[in-house]
């Protein structure tokens, strides 16, 4: 147990962080290079002002036509995205580990609230899954990659929940939890989760075209 635990929290964790940052950097750099050679008539119009204007609208719930027309999904999406960052970073157990491994300390979400928020994330994953299966518009466009992306995000939260509650074998679960988190980080640059690094640019581009060229709102 100790050997495995030390391996997944030690060398494997470092490998994971390296793969995550290097992967993101590589994807961004190579995509920028590609854009430079093939999309010059697009990137020529990039504008800070209109990028930020567009981003500001789209990170505000119900500030855009799309958000307003899909209220349930809007609430779910915002909650989901806030929580999948906030919970792993600010969970008490993780704050202890930030301190233990990196020597940085900051306030934590108390355990019972963290537990509750994890359940919310799991419930949201279920919501997304049910929506994929139930809504004909979504089912029609769903591909394997969409399920993979959802599963990758679902796994660390589910295993984290089980480990925290110490349901099933704890030792196994905590290893699975760490592995699931590591899989997620490594997968971000290479799956649909890459929207984490790319969305800001697609959003900015659309904002720039609409603001600077078309003089119209893109929200």
């Amino acid at each position: 147990m100790n050997t495995i635990y030390e391996f997944v929290t030690g060398p494997l964790a470092w490998l994971t962080w390296t793969a995550f940052f290097a992967g993101c950097a590589w994807r961004l750099a190579s995509m920028y290079k590609l854009a430079k050679s093939k999309d010059t008539s697009s990137i020529a119009f990039m504008s800070w002002k209109y990028s930020l204007r567009s981003i500001a609208h789209w990170v505000t719930p119900f500030a855009t036509l799309g958000w307003r027309k899909n209220p349930a999904l809007t609430v779910a999406t915002f909650l989901f995205h806030v929580l999948i960052f906030a919970v792993p970073i600010f969970l008490t157990a993780h704050v202890m580990l930030w301190d233990q491994f990196f020597g940085i300390s900051f306030p934590a979400i108390p355990d019972p609230i963290g537990d509750y928020l994890t359940i919310v994330v799991i419930a949201l994953c279920v919501f997304f899954a049910v929506r994929r299966l139930q809504d004909p518009n979504v089912r029609y466009i769903t591909k394997k990659a969409d399920w993979i992306a959802l599963a990758i995000v679902f796994a660390p939260f589910m295993t984290g929940f089980l480990a925290f509650r110490q349901i099933l074998d704890y030792d196994t679960m905590i290893i699975l939890h760490i592995l699931a988190g590591e899989i997620m980080l490594v997968a971000i640059p290479w799956t649909r989760l890459s929207h984490m690094v790319f969305a800001v640019f697609t959003r900015s581009y659309m904002g720039s075209e609409f603001g600077g060229v078309r003089h119209a709102r893109d929200w």
């Binding site: 995509m31 920028y32 590609l34 854009a35 050679s37 093939k38 999309d39 008539s41 697009s42 020529a44 119009f45 567009s54 789209w58 855009t64 036509l65 799309g66 958000w67 027309k69 899909n70 999904l73 999406t77 929506r131 994929r132 809504d135 004909p136 518009n137 979504v138 089912r139 029609y140 466009i141 769903t142 591909k143 969409d146 992306a149 649909r192 890459s194 929207h195 790319f198 969305a199 640019f201 697609t202 959003r203 900015s204 581009y205 659309m206 904002g207 609409f210 060229v213 078309r214 003089h215 119209a216 709102r217 893109d218 929200w219």
Partner: protein, 439 residues
């Protein structure tokens, strides 16, 4: 459900597909994807989270609420997704459906942009699909005919060089009965305004040229029209995917204006031509902006009214509703000016449709769809059901629509859904209401 369950026979598509082999398809698809697309398409296809939020954006989907194959992401699913998944290894029959979908079931109106959180431009994706179809030689017959006309004559309607000048002189002569001193100045160097139109105007909507000339005359504008090819600002090649020809057209247009050393190009009430000159063709030609400022009629007429250049003898009886053409509203943000102008002109209220301004619903004719001709008319009219409902809900009898294609589409919609509405160009209303001192 999907495009392959609703194929429509079209000579152009059929003949094009009959010449294809899987090898040729694979080669062409991958050549376009590799050489002509880059980070945009790659990121769009990779990060579309298939959330389905765009489903209700599209008027085709709104008009077919139980058929997800009409949704923006659903269209990508049936076209680009398949090409990418199979690495271009698809059968000729697949190309038939892909072409029909891209040319006739998407108006490139970009309404879905307002729905996509990460900013995916489905209109762009459909444009790439059209580009592939063009390169495969699989294009609907009617729109390809106009593209051929562009190639051969530099105008959309096979108008011969002498016919163009003749038509202008004929309109001038007609108008001089009403305005004895009126001229349509051809090739006037250094004029303030270079007025450009689309080829259907000299071909069968000559009254629009007549009206424009009357307005220019009444406003005392220093204007000209070119006597040589380059006068047609329209661009069906942009919509078929024939970008090389689009580039030639736009270059010819700009150069024709540059040769005359005019200050500005004012474009007639057309949407797609504006998109081509203002946003798309200029980029293909390597101009970030425009060698000569480009102004749409909405803005030009608005200036005339603001500056008091045109005096109204009466106001047009309202209420009216305003149809926002995608290419000058989502494409140029002219909706406010359009409304200010309409308020100058009408006596009564503007009753807005539920979706207006940038959020307008397309006329379902744009993006070259109406130009695909009669075989696809029923698809188009069926797709405009949601537009018809919004029009009907206004309860008014007049639609102001400053775009040729919108007129064509709305006429069919008004007829098919028994809306009993009349459709007016801004020029129609200004001409009808303005003071005609010499008359």
């Amino acid at each position: 459900m999907g495009i392959h369950d609703r194929l429509i026979e079209d000579v152009g598509l059929r003949r094009g597909v009959s010449r294809l082999t899987p090898e040729k398809i694979e080669k062409t698809v991958n050549a376009v994807l590799k050489n002509e697309t880059g980070a945009r398409l790659k990121v769009y296809s990779e990060t579309c989270m298939r959330c389905g939020m765009c489903a209700t954006a599209c008027h085709y989907a709104q008009s077919h609420p139980d058929d997800p194959s009409y949704t923006p992401a659903g269209k990508v699913r049936q076209t680009l997704d398949v090409l990418l998944d199979k690495g271009g290894k698809v059968e000729p029959d697949f190309i038939y459906g892909m072409a029909q979908l891209a040319y006739t079931e998407c108006n490139l109106c970009r309404r879905c942009v307002h729905y996509c959180p990460i900013g995916i431009d489905t209109g762009y994706i459909m444009t790439v699909i059209r580009r592939i179809c063009h390169k495969l030689g699989v294009t609907p017959q009617y729109i390809q005919d106009t593209a051929h006309s562009h190639s051969a004559t530099f105008n959309q309607m096979w108008v011969k060089d002498d016919e163009w000048a003749d038509t202008l002189q004929w309109q001038e002569e007609e108008a001089r009965e009403e305005f004895p001193n009126m001229r349509i100045p051809l090739d006037k160097e250094g004029a303030d305004i270079y007025y450009s139109v689309i080829a259907p105007e000299p071909k069968f909507r000559t009254q629009l040229i007549y009206q424009a000339a009357a307005i220019m005359h009444a406003a005392g504008v220093d204007w000209t029209m070119p006597a040589e090819p380059g006068w047609d600002n329209s661009d069906m090649c942009m919509f078929t995917g024939d970008f090389e020809m689009m580039g030639r057209l736009k270059r010819r247009h700009f150069e024709s204006a540059q040769k005359l050393k005019v200050k500005r190009i004012v474009m007639g009430e057309c949407g797609h031509a504006f998109r081509s000159i203002y946003d798309v063709g200029n980029r293909w030609d390597g101009w970030m902006w425009h060698p000569i400022p480009v102004v749409h009629s909405i803005e030009f007429f608005w200036e005339l009214m603001r500056d008091g250049k045109i005096k109204l003898a009466k106001k047009y009886p309202g209420p009216v509703t305003v149809h926002d053409p995608c290419n000058v509203v989502r494409g140029r943000g002219l909706h406010e000016k359009l409304r200010e102008l309409v308020r100058f002109l009408i006596d009564g209220d503007i009753v807005e449709m539920a979706s207006h301004g940038e959020h307008n619903i397309c006329c379902t004719a744009g993006g070259g769809v109406i130009n695909c001709g009669p075989p696809f008319k029923n698809v188009r009219v069926a797709g405009s059901k949601s537009k018809a409902e919004e029009l009907k809900a206004t309860g008014v009898k007049t639609i102001v629509a400053p775009c040729h294609n919108c007129h064509g589409g709305l006429e069919d919609t008004v007829h098919a859904y028994h809306l009993g509405m009349e459709i007016k160009f801004l020029g129609d209303i200004i001409y009808e209401c303005m003071e005609k001192p010499e008359a």
